[in-house]
Symmetry: C2
Subunit: 256 residues, 2 copies
């Protein structure tokens, strides 16, 4: 029922005929493609904006799906952000800024979906993705790393072709931070119905991202240990992260 | 048609019978309360999660409302975040963390709605609000400051009652950053239908927030100049903000 994927051979996304999230979480076949999806569409059940292989039930009815207000899940969290954007946004015309943000968001989403992650939050020139919920993947750390490498591969040249004259000597690039561990997933506000992830793991992933230079992917030791084959030869770096007392060991993957 | 509000006398929110956003942007009366709202509800047009006084047309059909992919708007942007949350999230039990985030998000939303702002983005223990779109308010800088003061008033004691033993000597608190000026508002991703704001003003508001200590509201000089009556006697501080070349003069309002 679900699409299989292996390292380097990403699943084709957006082609699922039943919601992969509802299947993985409830073993319930909710049609989202083909003629069987039509009656569901009439009730507002369509492909989710977070990932086109899941449906709006997964996205907006967390408590129905999980029968709880929140759950603890082993997951990998990825943050990505355009480096140099604040500086650029002071000097560039509005239309160009829009094109840059749209291109970044779209290319990142394609890379994340190709590895079964969801784009949980978009914040201007940044985003947060979750791997292993609601589509389950035992190799969620590896999936996130492969998505990050695809982001780095697909963004840098395209971003700079949109802003060729923007920052002489300071090309645009993307910084990525990844961390794995237990997160709380649920609805954390009485007036929103979309779920999100919170917890120390989420905050540390965001902190790692904030320290990644253009072209860099910073992985926590926990993520690296789960995907050893992908990080062979990676540089290690000791970081002091805001709000985290102990220094953090990170692995650095650099766009080649 | 729209609710009037003056300094210190916030409009009652969630009570509008027609969408105040559609009215202010298109002079179109879209019923969202009372019996006239029922047929609209059948077509999925309900109160928005961003602000209950606007509707899902404003929220998700930006291009229909504005007939453009993006517009430039004079607005005030507010960021708020729980100080000490990363540190706390490493040590506290999951259920307690959830309660803290929910309380924070709900109290902030009430304060923002009471002053006609919208909660545009929620990111774990943080959020971004926009004032002057889609509900227009000439005094958007003052509205944002009053919302920030209500956030500070309503959050600190409540947060600490939820985490009394969390951080000895380091009580939880909220940091707020506010900046006003021209922002780009529109849909900046081909797969999401909710609008957001981007641009230098947005990024500078976020940078100000990141430097606000617990209990502090950091205002840019631009915001302060638009609401002189509210900032009399405020301390001034010169800040170096990441990604912004020139030092920035900020006014500091402290919770009393």
């Amino acid at each position: 029922m679900t699409t299989e994927s292996t390292y380097g051979e990403p699943a084709r996304h957006g082609s699922a005929r039943i919601c992969r999230g509802c299947w993985d979480q409830m073993h319930m076949p909710i049609p989202i493609g083909g003629p069987l999806a039509l009656p569901f569409r009439a009730f507002g059940i369509t492909r989710s904006k977070m990932n086109p292989d899941i449906c709006t039930i997964c996205e907006r009815s967390f408590q129905y799906v999980k029968k709880q207000r929140q759950i603890t899940v082993d997951a990998t969290i990825l943050f990505a952000d355009i480096r140099g954007f604040t500086d650029l946004s002071e000097r560039i015309e509005a239309v160009r800024l829009t094109e840059i943000v749209s291109l970044f968001q779209d290319r990142c989403a394609q890379a994340i979906w190709a590895h079964d992650g969801i784009v949980n939050k978009q914040m201007g020139d940044g985003l947060m993705a979750i791997f292993n919920f609601p589509i389950t993947r035992k190799d969620h750390a590896a999936a996130a790393i492969l998505a990050a490498q695809a982001i780095q591969r697909n963004c840098a040249a395209a971003l700079n072709s949109l802003a060729p004259d923007a920052a002489p000597g300071r090309p645009l690039g993307v910084g990525v931070g990844i961390h794995s561990g237990e997160v709380q997933i649920g609805e954390f506000s009485s007036f929103r119905s979309d779920f999100t992830a919170i917890g120390g793991v989420v905050n540390q992933a965001a902190r790692l991202e904030s320290q990644a230079a253009a072209g860099e992917i910073l992985l926590s030791a926990e993520t690296a240990a789960m995907a050893a084959a992908l990080i062979a030869g990676a540089e290690e770096r000791t970081l002091t992260l805001k709000g985290i007392e102990q220094p953090v060991r990170a692995h650095v993957l650099v766009k080649r």
